[in-house]
């Protein structure tokens, strides 16, 4: 940091930022804008007029019908709003257009700063094969195997012996587990290869199959990096993201319980090399698979702010969205690698509108009651409010609840306490899932891998059953049911209503009777 390094002079910092997103992340970015004295412009689809991000913004513009292709993914409409509002930068959040190189390029053409990496860096990372070649030159470790299709069984046998069993056969055109075979021993290789090829042919019209070392029960650990536009790149430690369902992250934490300072240095150095090889700027995340022996392999780079960025913010004390904006405005990184220290422990739960009793299917609808936790070590990034109707058109992420503590145990204790305070009525949420995870012996002892959640969900939730049938709890529910009937707004009528302040509710008898009828209906 030299003389030209200081914060952007007020006159050069953005004056107005358009947030091309919705939900909790749009609210998160609007807050950062306001903290920095920047005006925030919201865009919204027809079903999002009443959404929280519209309420919190300084300006808000409708951009069309609910399907994302007609609104949040529509580049022309968003750039039109940028022009009309006079925004000088666009923050894309995560999802939607955040990793769309075409959008980043269109922003440049329109003279609006895209808060993120360049289109060229996104392109370099978007193509798996090109990314791999550049990365291999930079000495980035990959899962051992062939990057090209296998030509013969003999070749497969040779490669498999070379890298050691177990190995995984994968369809080159694949996805969704089709054309994939796990092979434990050489005697099974022939039939597995034939099976994978014919399945790949049937599923993708392409029988090309390649081979990789199988990483059993891997961990998913990622490194946050920040790069300015002056050639400086730092890593901000790792996040443990092994708790996933259907390849969707559910719980993330920082630091990873398995990563020691030396491993962090090694992974961080690789992540910085990955970013530099791609000419990367702004915030990004390098994902790794880690095996039980702590070998780590490059998986991919996410060229955007991550959903789980708050855990990194809590343990580093850095505000990633502020830094994204300052980097985009041309500032140099205000920290060197030596300035970055990890302090304490943070864990995030992704609160989704989904029904734990119905295989976690989405549960949109109206939020009739919302009791939100607060208190020491609790951060809540939320896009919902009481009375809001969660639309059915988008991702079911409602909010993120993050617990912070001086160590992992305290973070777990605070988060568990906060989950018990959290109540979302009217729709189903996965809050109960986190209570189960946070008391699970394997979670408490940090035995985490990507198979953890599937294994846990196959087990019966004994605690839940216990509390439901607990006679004392039933008794409480019965008495409460009666008390609600007596004290509730509907209960006025002939019997005296006693409210919290002890006043009686005789004031508007007509209205009460009207409500009484509705209440009785509801109670049937």
């Amino acid at each position: 940091m030299g003389a030209a390094v200081g914060p952007t002079p007020r006159c050069l910092m953005f004056k107005k930022i358009l947030i091309a997103n919705r939900g909790e992340i749009a609210v998160r970015v609007i807050r950062a804008c306001h903290e920095m004295g920047i005006a925030a412009v919201a865009v919204y689809s027809d079903v999002d007029r009443a959404a929280l991000h519209v309420r919190k913004a300084d300006e808000a513009y409708p951009i069309g019908a609910p399907p994302a292709t007609e609104s949040y993914l529509n580049i022309d409409k968003i750039l039109d709003v940028a022009a009309r509002s006079g925004a000088d930068a666009i923050h894309p959040g995560y999802g939607f257009l955040s990793e769309n190189a075409k959008f980043a390029r269109a922003c440049v053409d329109a003279g609006v700063k895209f808060i993120g990496p360049t289109a060229a860096a996104m392109d370099a990372m978007g193509s798996k094969t090109r990314a791999r070649q550049a990365m291999e030159r930079a000495g980035v470790p990959f899962v051992p195997g062939t990057s090209r299709g296998l030509e013969s069984f003999e070749q497969a046998e040779q490669v498999a012996t070379g890298i050691g069993y177990p190995v995984m056969l994968k369809a080159a055109a694949g996805g969704g587990g089709k054309g994939m075979r796990l092979v434990h021993a050489s005697k099974d290789l022939k039939s597995a290869l034939d099976g994978a090829r014919s399945e790949a042919e049937r599923s993708f019209g392409d029988s090309e199959v390649y081979i990789e070392k199988a990483i059993l029960n891997p961990r998913h650990i990622e490194i946050q990096i920040l790069a300015d536009e002056h050639g400086n790149t730092v890593y901000l430690g790792e996040r443990e993201c092994s708790l996933q369902r259907r390849h969707q992250k559910v719980v993330e934490e920082a630091p990873s319980p398995m990563v020691d300072p030396e491993m962090r240095r090694q992974m961080g150095a690789v992540a910085v090399r990955v970013a530099e090889a791609a000419g990367y700027t702004n915030a990004g995340t390098v994902e790794f698979l880690v095996d039980q022996q702590k070998n780590f392999y490059f998986l991919e780079m996410n060229t955007r702010l991550q959903v789980e960025h708050p855990v990194t913010e809590l343990v580093t004390g850095l505000d990633l969205v502020h830094l994204q904006i300052r980097i985009a405005a041309g500032e140099r990184l205000p920290v060197t690698q030596d300035d970055v220290t990890i302090r304490g422990h943070a864990i995030e739960c992704r609160i989704y509108a989904e029904d734990p009793d119905n295989n976690y299917f989405p549960s949109p609808g109206k939020i009739t009651l919302l009791l939100a936790p607060s208190g020491p070590g609790i951060r809540r990034d939320s896009g919902m409010y009481e009375g809001w109707t969660v639309p059915m058109d988008y991702d079911p992420l409602l909010a993120k609840l993050i617990g912070y503590g001086t160590d992992r145990n305290q973070a777990i204790g605070r988060l568990t306490r906060a989950l018990n305070e959290y109540f979302v009525g009217g729709i189903k949420t996965n809050i109960s899932l986190f209570r189960r995870i946070l008391r699970h012996p394997d979670f408490l002892s940090a035995k985490l891998d990507t198979g953890f959640l599937d294994r846990m969900l196959k087990q019966k939730d004994d605690v839940q059953l216990d509390s439901c049938t607990h006679p004392a709890a039933v008794e409480v529910a019965v008495i409460a049911a009666g008390m609600f009937a007596v004290l509730g707004p509907a209960a006025a009528g002939p019997s005296e209503r006693v409210s919290a302040d002890g006043s009686s509710g005789k004031a508007s008898k007509a209205a009460s009777q009207w409500k009484n009828a509705a209440h009785q209906e509801a109670m049937r």
């Binding site: 509108a353 029904d355 119905n358 299917f361 989405p362 549960s363 949109p364 609808g365 009739t368 009651l369 009791l371 059915m392 058109d393 988008y394 991702d395 079911p396 018990n420 109540f423 009525g425 009217g426 109960s432 209570r435 839940q464 509390s467 439901c468 607990h470 709890a473 039933v474 008794e475 409480v476 529910a477 019965v478 008495i479 409460a480 049911a481 009666g482 008390m483 609600f484 009937a485 007596v486 004290l487 509730g488 707004p489 019997s495 005296e496 006693v498 409210s499 919290a500 009785q520 509801a522 109670m523 049937r524």
Partner: protein, 164 residues
């Protein structure tokens, strides 16, 4: 006031009377010391003896749930003096309605009217939040009617089909 509260198939008789600023509470004839405050709608601060509880009331579709900690109780509260307190019996013999469990879009209708279905067989697929949810037949029988078309938007509780 006297209420009958039905939870998990058990019927509880609850008497609540206000006397000189205190509650007289009898649960199935047993006297219990209670004290309650409603700090806001749907949230009850309840004391039973000196034990304190925060109980939440949630109205979903045509059910009322009471939450004691993380335990949820579906309850029916009836005032025995009221004629409204009748409970509709669930009849497994007669026609059954398939309703939408959530607002969404019908993406597929899997069977035609007149089709014989087993209990648990998929009848329609509803999509919400990019996830597809198969609506299954609650009983073995014949599809009497399909009331929605593919592409239709539905609300939670809408009747989608009838199985006989």
């Amino acid at each position: 006031m006297t209420y009958e509260v039905l939870i998990d198939g058990n019927n509880y008789r609850l008497e609540l009377d206000r006397l000189e600023g205190r509650w007289l509470c009898r649960l199935d004839g047993r006297e219990i010391e209670v004290d309650a405050v409603l700090p806001r709608p749907d949230v009850l601060s309840l004391r039973i003896g000196n034990k304190a509880y925060e109980v939440k009331c949630e109205r979903v579709a045509n059910e009322v749930h009471f939450w004691v900690g993380s335990a949820r109780f579906a309850a029916q509260v009836r005032d025995p003096r009221s004629l409204r307190g009748r409970v509709r019996a669930v009849d497994d013999q007669g026609p059954r309605k398939l309703t939408a469990p959530m607002p969404g879009k019908i993406v597929r209708v899997l069977v035609r009217p007149g089709t014989e279905v087993e209990a648990g067989a998929g009848v329609l697929v509803v999509e919400a939040m990019k996830m597809q949810n198969e609506i299954k037949s609650p009983k073995k029988g014949t599809i009497q009617k399909i009331l929605v078309a593919e592409g239709a938007a539905v609300n939670a509780g809408d009747v989608l089909a009838i199985v006989e």
